[in-house]
């Protein structure tokens, strides 16, 4: 663990965003994770995404469960709201918070253990309800914090560090999310910020449930030669599934990816996602095709990354329940108390 504080000195020519902040204003405390942990790169990408979107930290809530991954909200956005809940329970806390205050941007950080084992039920229902949350699963195929047991996302053929076989098959959280009706589903790799940052930006701006499965190597317990979630393995077996740019309003951002046919998808809230198709079959709005590709790639030993699926027209939980359009903490006595006459009328309906 690093004991010293990160020096306050920053590069004098560091750029600032629309609200006058540098990316360093979006940092948290210095990470206590193992050196080289993929989770730290995801932290850096979240910082970049929030910085690039010029989000004010006090309008963000970061929530997590338990695990190395779930510790990371402490390492970004020092000035955001935060809740480190119990194991697997981040979605419940996020649901409560979101219903109470719909104006915040919700970032949920979880691990593969936290999501695919103890929290699987919570995960499913948050999707089913279309909670307006960006759910990030920092997926390393292991329980890092408890020293390297197999998690439910670890591939069957992926042995543990000591060479022991994994008796069970893997749950694919992204496939599951599409099947359960999530509106925005992506997969990425902690080691590719060029892909991850635009995905995070789009997910954060998506109104509804967005899920990003980020393969994030555990250098200490799952980065060995038999692992299918190591840096080397992912770099060798990754297949890119479309490339994307998040475009607020009309401005164009260039990514460094090769040219392809570009499709622009208009989101509910007016923002655009520009999407470069890599193959003729590739249509991120068609869940059947997407699921097919994902399954085929998987049996070919490929790890599909990119924006997998998006439904631009999904409604979120607040729409479904027709809740208050304002955060609860902003409702005044007048909003909450209809007055004697009104109350009498309501009561009469039930007499």
């Amino acid at each position: 663990m690093t004991y010293i504080k990160k020096p306050i000195f920053r590069h004098p020519s560091l750029p600032t965003n629309e609200i006058g902040l540098t990316y360093r204003d979006y940092e948290g405390v210095v990470s206590t994770l193992c050196a080289g942990c993929g989770h730290d790169s995801i932290t850096a990408s979240i910082i970049d995404a929030c910085y690039e979107l010029s989000l004010p930290a006090h309008k963000i809530a970061k929530l997590s469960g338990i695990g190395c991954s779930s510790k990371t909200p402490n390492y970004f956005l020092n000035n955001a709201h935060g809740f480190n809940s119990v194991h697997g329970r981040m979605p419940s806390v996020a649901t409560g918070a979101n219903l109470a205050n719909r104006d915040l941007v919700y970032i949920g950080v979880s691990g593969d253990g936290d999501t695919a084992s103890i929290g699987l039920g919570q995960y499913c229902h948050a999707i089913r309800r279309q909670l307006n949350l960006t759910y990030i699963c920092e997926n390393n195929g292991t329980y890092g914090l408890t020293k390297g047991q197999f998690s439910a996302t670890n591939d069957k053929e992926s042995k543990n560090k000591k060479g022991l076989d994994n008796p069970f098959g893997a749950i694919d959280l992204a496939i599951m999310a599409i099947e359960l009706g999530a509106g925005f589903v992506a997969r990425s790799f902690s080691g590719d910020k060029e892909q991850l940052v635009p995905l995070l930006k789009s997910a954060l701006q998506y109104n509804g449930f967005s899920f990003i499965d980020v393969i994030s190597p555990c250098v200490t317990f799952n980065n060995h030669g038999y692992s299918t979630k190591s840096y080397d393995y992912i770099r060798e077996h990754r297949s890119l599934f479309g490339e994307l740019d998040f475009i607020p309003e009309e401005e164009t951002i260039n990514t460094s990816y090769a040219e392809g046919e570009t499709v622009t998808i208009k989101l509910h809230n007016g923002n655009d996602i520009s999407f470069k198709k890599l193959g003729a079959d590739h249509d991120p709005t068609d869940p059947h095709k997407v699921l097919n590709t994902l399954r085929n790639n998987r049996s070919d030993g490929k790890v599909t990354t990119g924006l997998l699926y998006v439904d631009p027209d999904k409604s979120d939980l607040h729409d479904t329940l027709n809740t208050s359009s304002k955060p609860l903490n902003s409702l005044s006595m007048n909003d909450l108390c209809p007055g004697g006459e009104e109350l009498e009328e309501i009561n009469n309906q039930f007499r």
Partner: protein, 597 residues
């Protein structure tokens, strides 16, 4: 495509140590600063002594080219007080006599004449005496030290400090021919010296030939001669109203000395705008703190006198016009008269060699300057070497020392029939500082403090006493605090591509965004495409060999804080913090490694 950086070239890492690179004598600055923080003042002093011979003097007076170069200036505003920390080492050290080189009682049979007893000659003696040379110093003044003694006023540099550091060298057994002005080089050459070093400085102060100069000459003084007279106590007072003409450090010393010798209304005048004054910022600041006004854009026209009695100086106001980056001073026609009792001229100095015969084989160029080899310091007469201000005109003490070290190497080669162009290589070393997983044997938790000011003596007292030192120096606590500001630029970030797994941990932690993983390209393009573009071309970029993904690691050395976080966050040890020691080669073998932690 850039090739992987050759870090085996000693200049690569040396350049990263900005202060040491900028120091003419290449003093290992961060090493002595760390020793000061550990209260190892004697060791800190000896590292300095080996490099620059006069740490006590330089810790008070050095022109400090290291400070504008200091990395701290790039990441915040003020450099580390490198110079004043040197003084703290000198002030707090214990007896060093047992640490000095041994002087062989059996001489090597070679005799060297050193003409002039300033820092350049003394450095040559310091380097050659331990090798058994027999050195004789000819000095026209009663004591050695050169301008350090005769021109730098004692309120900046107490005589005791000069005596200590000059005598240390003389006590090596140097033969002293003091009060002996050399009037003919031929007469020296005719003696049996194996080599002759000319370190006579730039002793001639420039004069100002305007009307009234001759008539009023009894109250118009050439600054450096006047300061010498003050140093040797031949002069102990000056008129109430004094005008100092000139904008360099000599002018600053003249005006401040005048205040202490009875001047009440002392002014400094310069021809150019104030921003272009030659004097160091800190010298100007000290003069202004003592209440001396500086009138810029004032060009002297006439010394006004009544029957030879000086009444004042008439100036014409100038205006600076800039065209194509070039400055031109245009007379405005407006004149100003400053009444005064005395004038001090501080408009420059020159070297001059009326005592060197022009038919003995020493060639002089069209400006009447000797032809001296920039590397070997040899003149066109092989036995004769030049150094210090005598070589190419006035510089400063640290350059005189640097010249002296190089000339000593040449003289040693010359006396041993070795090729003079074959210069000895520096000693270098690179050692890991890793002590534990996140522990380093250097203080990486750097201080955010602003530069600490050096305490000053009370102005009322120091202005009445020529010998009272104005600066009191850092006490131990302040020295410690200031030392913590040093970024340890000699602790290098050493990268081993074979260990790198490209996990980005270093990129993510680096507080100053100097690390990048990217596709290789030309230097120009690489510099442009870094996370924060590397636009400071005076600083190198470190480029690795190809990594597994085909990318390269590119680090911009410009802003690196040497905080070691990249190495702490690297899971494989691909980054390591390693101390680079660079010791300039001297004729006398260095023992700096004995003091290095």
């Amino acid at each position: 495509m850039m090739k992987p950086t050759d870090t085996k070239n000693p200049n690569y890492y040396h350049k990263v140590v900005d202060c040491q690179w900028a120091c003419p004598a290449h003093t290992p600055v961060p090493e002595y600063i760390r020793l000061i923080a550990q209260r190892k003042y004697t060791e800190a002093y000896m590292i300095n002594w080996e490099s620059n011979v006069f740490p006590g003097v330089l810790g008070r007076t050095c022109d400090r080219p290291c400070e504008p170069a200091c990395r701290r200036v790039r990441v915040e505003e003020e450099p580390v007080a490198i110079c004043r920390l040197k003084r703290a080492a000198a002030d707090n050290k214990s007896d060093v006599s047992s640490l000095l080189p041994e002087i062989p009682s059996k001489k090597n049979g070679k005799k060297i004449a050193l003409i002039g007893g300033g820092p350049a000659s003394l450095t040559v003696a310091r380097d050659l005496m331990p090798l058994g040379y027999d050195c004789t110093v000819y000095e026209k003044d009663p004591k050695a030290g050169g301008l350090m003694r005769t021109n730098i006023p004692s309120f900046r540099l107490p005589v005791g400090v000069i005596d200590e550091e000059v005598d240390r060298i003389l006590d090596f057994g140097v033969v002293k021919k003091f009060n002996e002005e050399v009037k003919s080089l031929k007469s020296i050459i005719q003696q049996d010296y194996d080599a002759i070093f000319i370190g006579t400085g730039a002793p001639k102060g420039k004069d100002l030939d305007i009307p009234g100069r001759e008539e009023a000459s009894s109250n118009i003084h050439v600054g450096i001669d006047w300061l010498t007279s003050v140093a040797f106590k031949h002069v102990d007072k000056i008129g109430k109203k004094v005008v100092v003409i000139g904008g360099g450090n000599t002018a600053m010393d003249c005006c401040r000395t005048s205040l202490r010798l009875g001047g009440k209304d002392v002014k400094v005048t310069v021809r150019s705008p104030k921003a272009d004054m030659k004097a160091s910022d800190w010298e100007i600041e000290e003069a202004e703190l003592e209440g001396i006004p500086i009138f810029d854009n004032h060009s002297p026209k006439e010394f006004v006198h009544e029957n030879g009695k000086l009444k004042g100086v008439l100036f014409e106001k100038m205006e600076a016009k800039y065209k194509d980056g070039k400055r031109k001073l245009i007379p405005t026609g407006e004149t100003i008269f400053f009444e005064c009792d005395d004038v001090l001229l501080a408009i420059g100095q020159e070297n001059a060699f009326p005592w060197i015969e022009r038919d003995i084989g020493i060639e002089f160029n069209q400006w009447n300057q000797p032809e001296v080899n920039k590397v070997t310091f040899q003149s066109t007469l092989p036995r004769v070497f030049f150094g210090g201000d005598a070589a190419w005109g006035p510089e400063n003490i640290i350059w005189a020392v640097a010249h002296g070290h190089q000339a000593a190497i040449s003289i040693d080669h010359f006396c041993n029939n070795k090729d003079l162009e074959d210069r000895p290589s520096p000693l270098t070393n690179l050692v890991s500082q890793k002590m534990g997983i996140h522990e380093w044997s250097y203080p990486n938790d750097i201080s955010n403090s602003d530069r600490f000011a050096v305490p000053h003596a009370e102005k009322e007292l120091s202005l009445t006493d020529l010998n009272m030192e104005v600066e009191l120096g850092y006490d131990e606590k302040l020295a410690f605090e200031e030392a913590q500001r040093c970024l340890n630029c000699d602790i290098q970030t050493v990268f081993s591509e074979s260990l790198c797994i490209e996990c980005d941990a270093c990129v993510d932690i680096c507080p100053i965004d100097c690390i990048n993983f990217t596709q290789n390209d030309t230097e120009e393009n690489l510099r442009k495409k870094l996370t924060v573009p590397a636009l400071n071309l005076s600083q190198d970029i470190l480029v690795s060999d190809n990594l597994k993904t085909g990318r390269v690691m590119v680090k911009d050395e410009d802003m690196c804080l040497h905080c070691g976080l990249c190495a702490e966050r690297c899971p494989t040890g691909a980054w390591d913090m390693q101390k680079f020691t660079y010791i300039e080669a001297h004729a006398d073998k260095s023992s700096i490694f004995e003091y290095v932690e």
